[in-house]
């Protein structure tokens, strides 16, 4: 599957990036194409392009705070979880895609 994701946490220093790493790593292992945008203290990085969003089958939001530009994902299949879950058990998030 083609998946786009956004991660964000309260201070934007650590958990945003840990969650991103876990989603990318696990997604690759499961055979998905994953691109993760981080919204941390450095602002938006690895930003998702409209084309990438349009081509995606699903959106994972691993976030603890409200993110910027959520409207980009309107009408798409969204799985929203806390950033912590992406760190602790990323597989369980991907499992939701199959249900």
């Amino acid at each position: 599957m083609k998946i786009v994701a956004v991660t964000a946490c309260p201070t934007g220093i650590a958990h945003t990036y840990m969650a991103a790493e876990q989603l990318e790593k696990t997604g690759r292992e499961l055979g998905h194409t994953v691109k993760v945008e981080t919204q941390g203290a450095m602002g938006i990085e690895n930003e998702l392009s409209p084309a990438e969003i349009a081509a995606a089958d699903a959106v994972i939001l691993a976030i603890d705070i409200e993110i910027e530009q959520r409207e980009r994902f309107e009408g798409m299949r969204i799985i929203e979880v806390p950033a912590q879950l992406a760190i602790r058990d990323p597989k369980s998030i991907y499992a939701k895609l199959d249900s």
């Binding site: 220093i13 650590a14 990036y17 991103a20 790493e21 941390g40 760190i87 602790r88």
Partner: protein
């Protein structure tokens, strides 16, 4: 005709008792009537009465009008104006100014939360913590009615009062002689002035002779009258001066009635925490400070003299305690004056916390002392003297405390602006000699008067200029007003026999200025010799490098100059043609402009080639970030505001001279200041993790037993490495984040982190715990490896955030965690992290 002087009250706490007593003391020395009037409130006070001054309540920033009239009005005016402009602004101790910062709500230390339920809250009033038995002391108040005192004849009652006043004054004077330290003396001086106060005396005498009251009654009603006026003051500081006034009243009353009203003097036999509703200044002064370990004043405010004295002795204080049921004589009490916490009969958990705190404090004291006593220099041992800039002779005590190795710039402007006419040679001589004597063999660089159209003197009419910065200022003025320079040079040359004085000219533009200045020095010297004045050899004569044309001509100037000092502020402004304070340009002004750095380098290289000594005395010199540039320039000395000295010495000590030179060579070639800033940041640790990490920030054998202890220890490591000044505040920032959800990310690793104004630079600290602790981690497992990530609140710091982000991602990787665990020493850990966190070639 009365002489008038208008000024704005410079004291943050208003004109309170201590500065008022200094002013009153001075005002009463002259045969002249001196009054002070507030232009906003209209309050008028007799300036020779402390009580009048204090009761009038001159607040911070209020416009005050000083009025002097009488036989000695000119003399009095001169002395008072000097006092107001040069002494008054500094007569509030820095401690007083920090009060608002100290004042925060009580909170139990994080490491004790959940372990102590029975704690008492108060207001933190003096930092530090201690455990000692309680010693209770009673509060004393002025009685409502002074007992059965039937008034006898007014003459007899007046005599009673006169005798009582004599004894009290005598005792206060004796106390003054016994005072140790500036703060004690000032406070005792204030007490003495209250006792001497002319308004108080007249009021009491009036109540006796006109009101038919007894001496005792008159004392009580007069004290109450003034006390009420103080109570009505807007300033809590002034309100708290009532305690001192009542103290004086009680002493007078004791003398008049022969009764002991203040109880026995409090004597301490062992280390104690004194608990009392309030303590009078006299009681506090009399207490043995070596045994007084802490102070709990249940009813006192933050500004009573007892509290100020305690702080000046470094004694922890808590005030405003409402629950006193647990404060029993002899009970051991834990007192935390930083957090406003008391714990009666503390448990072993509290004792363990305190023991760890004491250990940290010891290390901290050692560090500060080591920094202050250390000579300035680079890591490879090249000396670079670190000196202080001063504007007033009063600053001399402070500069020694911070470890200044001399005075690199004594700005004499303030001296001159303080006088209603040009200060005489003798007046100047006294000040320069005293400074030189105090400094001994340490260098004192005196810069002759640097004034201009923008900074006029009260006694020197200067024409307005369209562009004063490019007009008649500094040395350019001397040719029009030769007396200014001649008198100052004579005073300096005469003072030079007392110490190691060097003479420096401001605003030199080229060789002609430098030659002319030296000629003036030689002429003044010859004149003094002719007059048989005791002068030595001509001291070293040099010039400021603050005009680009001079900085570009160091070789030629060397014919007339023994030394140079770069004035980085003006040289920066003139080089960039920008006013640093300009409302639209200040953001563009940058002292790291590569063009300016190139000019610094050129001047230093030329001075060295000519065998000339060169220093730097602008703000550029006081910033730790610039240390490698300063070392690379090969300066002989850097001079700055004294509080910046310890950290700059520390930063210099980490620089290798050769690497610093290479860095400087790169920086002068940089495209702009941003590039210079990046190069400086990169240089800090020799890698792109940019000073985040050092061996000092890693403890591989931590005995912390809880999440809270570990976080406290990590914040302590930052403090010990000079990265944090307020450990409690940094700890609170970390906990703010920690409380949203645990930073235990599983696999035995936790990464507490924060953005905080209380960390100076981005920092990564690490503990390996001897005993794994519960961190409420995502996987529920205990934690044995803790990494603290702390970012300053200001600035973008993207580079550091990137390193943190990289660390966060790497921590998700088994190999990385394995490598981190495998590192055996603190240095191995630093090496490992630096290697892993440097951006790879993606």
């Amino acid at each position: 005709m009365p002489l008038e002087y208008r000024f704005s009250c410079p004291l943050h706490n208003g004109l309170h008792a201590r500065p008022a007593s200094l002013l009153a003391e001075l005002a009463s020395r002259f045969d002249a009537s001196v009054s002070l009037c507030s232009e906003s409130s209209g309050e008028r006070a007799d300036a020779s009465s402390v009580l009048d001054l204090v009761a009038a309540g001159f607040g911070h920033g209020e416009t005050c009008l000083l009025r002097v009239e009488g036989r000695q009005e000119a003399l009095a005016y001169a002395a008072l104006v000097e006092f107001i402009s040069s002494v008054l602004p500094g007569s509030d101790s820095p401690l007083d100014r920090q009060l608002t910062e100290v004042n925060r709500a009580a909170s139990l230390p994080h490491a004790l939360r959940g372990l102590v339920d029975n704690w008492i809250s108060g207001i933190p009033a003096g930092p530090g913590q201690v455990l000692a038995p309680i010693r209770l002391a009673g509060g004393v108040h002025l009685p409502e009615h002074p007992g059965n005192q039937h008034p006898q004849s007014p003459a007899l009652e007046l005599e009673r009062f006169r005798q009582a006043r004599e004894s009290v004054l005598q005792r206060q004077e004796e106390h003054l002689a016994l005072c140790i330290g500036k703060m004690e003396s000032q406070i005792q001086q204030a007490m003495l002035s209250l006792a001497r106060d002319s308004s108080l005396q007249q009021t009491i005498a009036g109540l006796i002779s006109d009101g038919g009251q007894s001496a005792a009654e008159a004392v009580v009603s007069a004290i109450r009258r003034y006390s009420r006026r103080l109570a009505e003051s807007d300033s809590t500081y002034l309100q708290e001066r009532r305690g001192d006034l009542e103290d004086i009243g009680l002493q007078l009353l004791e003398e008049i009635t022969g009764e002991e009203l203040r109880g026995r003097p409090l004597e301490l036999a062992e280390d104690s925490i004194v608990c009392a509703p309030s303590l009078s200044t006299s009681t506090m002064l009399a207490l043995d400070k070596s045994l007084l370990k802490g102070l709990v004043l249940t009813e006192s405010g933050l500004n009573s003299h007892a509290v100020i004295l305690a702080r000046s002795h470094g004694i922890p204080v808590v005030v405003g305690v409402t629950d006193q049921s647990q404060l029993q004589e002899g009970t051991p009490l834990y007192l935390n004056g930083s957090r406003g916490v008391l714990v009666s009969d503390p448990s072993p958990a509290v004792q363990r916390f305190l023991a760890r705190e004491e250990q940290r404090m010891q290390l901290l004291t050692g560090r500060t002392r080591a920094l202050a006593t250390k000579h300035g220099g680079t890591a490879d041992g090249l000396p670079l003297e670190v000196a202080a800039n001063i504007a007033s002779p009063d600053e001399i005590d402070m500069i020694a405390e911070y470890g200044a190795e001399g005075i690199g710039l004594f700005r004499t402007e303030m001296l001159f602006s303080a006088y209603p006419q040009m200060p005489s040679e003798e007046q100047q001589l006294a000040i320069y000699s005293q400074l030189a004597t105090t400094l001994g063999s340490q260098r004192l660089i005196i810069r002759t008067l640097d004034i201009g159209g923008d900074k006029p003197l009260p006694w020197l009419e200067l024409p307005r200029e369209d562009n004063p910065f490019l007009g008649m200022r500094g040395i350019r003025l001397y040719r029009e007003h030769p007396e200014l320079l001649r008198i100052q040079l004579r005073a300096i040359l005469r003072a030079a026999v007392s110490g190691n004085i060097w003479l420096m000219a401001p605003m030199v533009t080229g060789v002609d200025d430098a030659r002319w200045f030296r000629e003036q020095v030689e002429a003044a010297h010859a004149e003094l010799l002719r007059q048989g004045q005791p002068v030595g050899e001509i001291p070293w004569v040099g010039c400021m490098l603050e005009v680009p044309s001079a900085a570009l001509q160091v070789a030629a100037l060397s014919a007339h100059c023994d030394f140079f000092s770069i004035g980085s502020n003006d040289l920066g402004q003139y080089t960039q043609a920008m006013d640093r304070g300009h409302s639209q340009l200040s953001a563009q002004y940058n002292e790291l402009h590569p063009g300016l750095l190139r000019l610094f380098k050129l001047a230093c290289d030329d001075a060295r080639a000519q065998g000339r000594w060169i220093g730097m005395c602008g703000e550029f010199a006081g910033k730790p970030l610039h240390a490698p540039l300063l070392a690379g320039l090969g300066l002989d000395e850097v001079s700055m505001s004294a509080p910046a000295i310890p950290e700059l010495k520390q930063a210099l000590a980490t620089c290798d001279t050769e690497q610093a030179r290479q860095l400087l060579d790169c920086c002068v070639e940089a495209a702009d200041a941003d590039v210079v800033l990046q190069q400086l940041a990169a240089f800090r640790s020799g890698s792109n993790s940019a000073g985040l990490l050092s061996g000092q920030l890693v403890n591989i054998g931590s005995d912390s037993l809880s999440r809270a202890e570990a976080i406290r220890e990590l914040c302590g490591l930052c403090q010990l490495d000079g990265r944090c000044q307020d450990i409690d505040a940094l700890e609170d920032s970390v906990w703010n984040r920690e409380e949203t959800y645990s930073t235990g990310l599983g696999h035995g690793i936790a990464i507490p982190h924060c953005r905080s104004t209380h960390i100076n630079s981005a920092s990564l600290a690490m503990l390996r715990l001897n005993t794994p602790v519960d961190w409420k981690a995502l996987d529920g497992q205990p934690v044995d490896t803790v990494l603290l990530l702390a970012m300053p609140d200001t600035g973008d710091g993207k580079q550091h955030l990137r390193v943190f982000a990289r660390l966060a991602r790497r921590l998700m990787n088994d190999d990385f965690r394995g490598g981190l665990r495998a590192a055996r020493t603190a240095d191995n850990i630093v090496e490992f992290l630096e290697r892993e966190l440097v951006p790879s070639e993606e």
